[in-house]
Amino acid sequence: MSDTKNHIIEALKKQISAFQAEVTVEKVGTIVELGDGVAKITGLSNAMALEMLEFPNKIFGVVLNLEEDLVGAVILGDYTEIKEGDLVKSTGRVLEVPVGDDLIGRVIDPLGRPKDGKGVIKAEKFYPVERIAPRVIEREPVNSPLQTGIKAIDAIIPVGRGQRELIIGDRQTGKTALAIDAIINQKDENVICVYVAIGQKESSIAKTVAKLEEFNAMAHTIVVACSASESASLAYIAPFAGCSMAEYFKDQGRDVLIVYDDLSKHAAAYRQISLLLRRPPGREAFPGDIFYLHSRLLERACKMNKEQGGGSITALPIIETQAGDISAYIPTNVISITDGQIYLESDLFYQGIRPALNVGLSVSRVGSAAQAKAMKKVAGKLRLDLAQFRELAAFMQFASDLDKSTQAQINRGLRLTEILKQQQYCPMAVEHQVAILYAAVNGFLDDIEVNKMKDFENGFHEYLDGQGKNLLKSVKKTKEITEQSETELKDMISDYKKIFQS
């Protein structure tokens, strides 16, 4: 015991004797105007854009406006403790966040401070919050799939690693649920996930974290949380900070999935800051650079080429629409920036079609290139069948007056819609998805009643797990349906159908 005591005292002595008292020279300014989390400061003649400032009581701020004799800054934290006339010190560093493996499994605020009470985070490195997106030369086309585990998405609107796919829909349509499912499904896929909660209720963040823990998904996830009660400046920083944390893993050559939940609140936070800084308002009172704000954020999602380590960042931004209006300012902006959108509709949600995916309006502009061959084989037919079904759906009431082929189309469509339904927190492996979709698309399920589809599907997966292990393995390994496995699969389906119908 005394040994360690002596050791500590020795170390202290060493540090103190090594400490040199010197006069510190600092660049300072004085607050002349203060309110609502925004400060106008005189002095600070050498301030940089996005430089960190130190206010009294260890509160930090960020320079956003550089004017003739004033500096406009936002305060990250509790601004009620700061008053006019206070001294502000410049730090000479642009805003940075800690990055590293230590962050995995933690809930942190946008500045990297722990929020989960699990102790201090030792940062390996600091990354600036704003970084330039990788250039063309360093990139590679999206070429491998990111399995979300959701049948409807993996089949119809596939997402590739390095893609930016927007999840858009009204409130209560299951946007977050979709993203959480995607995160849960990355458990064995060697993908790090970053979930950025912007302006959400503290209770829903807690719920999300609890769910992730329940499904063992926190082991590969970082949650960057900025709740509704925190200042708008933190909400503005949050997605950029999350992206920097993701970039650390990308730079190590790993694949990252980042979810921004949601960017409409982020836009609102940025609007607040901009208006307080007296930047001129534009459409819907958003500032002129709101498009650039989101485009430079989403541009940082990328697939790097082999020389750069081959890492990737896949971004799933979420946008909440008001009454299904996707032609509002922020939704159109983000739709045009991303490589496709997953459109969720409340009507579908209440009809019980969950995920409430509107297959007609949802697209993926690059993901299909990355789809596994096996999935491609079933997905093509699925897309076509569903499109035809949508055309004919209006005639469904007169089903008895229709000719045979139309009736068959409608029947097929009903069954496919049923198959694409999926419970929350139940992501499905690709091989299972391929098997059930193969059965549905090729008409093997046409003679099973629509209301029994769910039971059939559940039973079929169990049957496959028991009897079709080799088949599943080969589909997973080759990512293809070979002729041999196709006949095997057909046999399996007809065998199980017999069991099911008896």
């Binding site: 006069v23 020279v25 600092e26 300014g29 002095g43 003739e68």
Partner: protein
């Protein structure tokens, strides 16, 4: 166009600087009238600070804030003033303040530079270093 307090200050100082003694009160009168007309009397405080700043600059003076821990002799102030004027190549107007929390040493502040040579500052530094 919105005219900034600094622009008002510069305009006023330039007008008064070379004016004859008898014209000065008329200039001040006109300036206040202008402020009233432009509806900026509410920011008169800011304009006054800017005028003061600009005036001092024009006279070649630099205000320096000095914080010390305990009362010191006249000679000390004189020496500091002398040395600073020498270094800055400008006339120095010293404003001093006492603050016991400093414990010892002094803090100098001019323009936007802060020189912290206080014992309190050193202790804070040591504290940060040890943590």
């Amino acid at each position: 166009m919105r005219i900034s307090p600094k622009k008002y200050a510069v305009a006023f100082c330039e007008a008064v600087w070379d004016a004859k003694e008898k014209d000065k009160s008329a200039i001040i009168d006109n300036f206040v009238k202008l402020l009233t007309k432009n509806n900026v009397l509410s920011s008169a405080g800011r304009i006054m600070t800017e005028i003061e700043k600009y005036w001092q600059e024009k006279e070649g003076q630099t205000p320096v804030n000095l914080v010390i821990s305990r009362p010191l002799s006249e000679k000390f102030f004189h020496d500091i003033k002398e040395q600073l004027s020498d270094k800055l190549k400008r006339e120095v107007v010293l404003e001093s303040k006492e603050d016991e929390k400093l414990l010892g040493g002094l803090i100098l502040r001019f323009d936007d530079i802060l020189l912290d040579g206080s014992v309190r500052g050193q202790l804070d530094n040591l504290h940060n270093k040890l943590l």
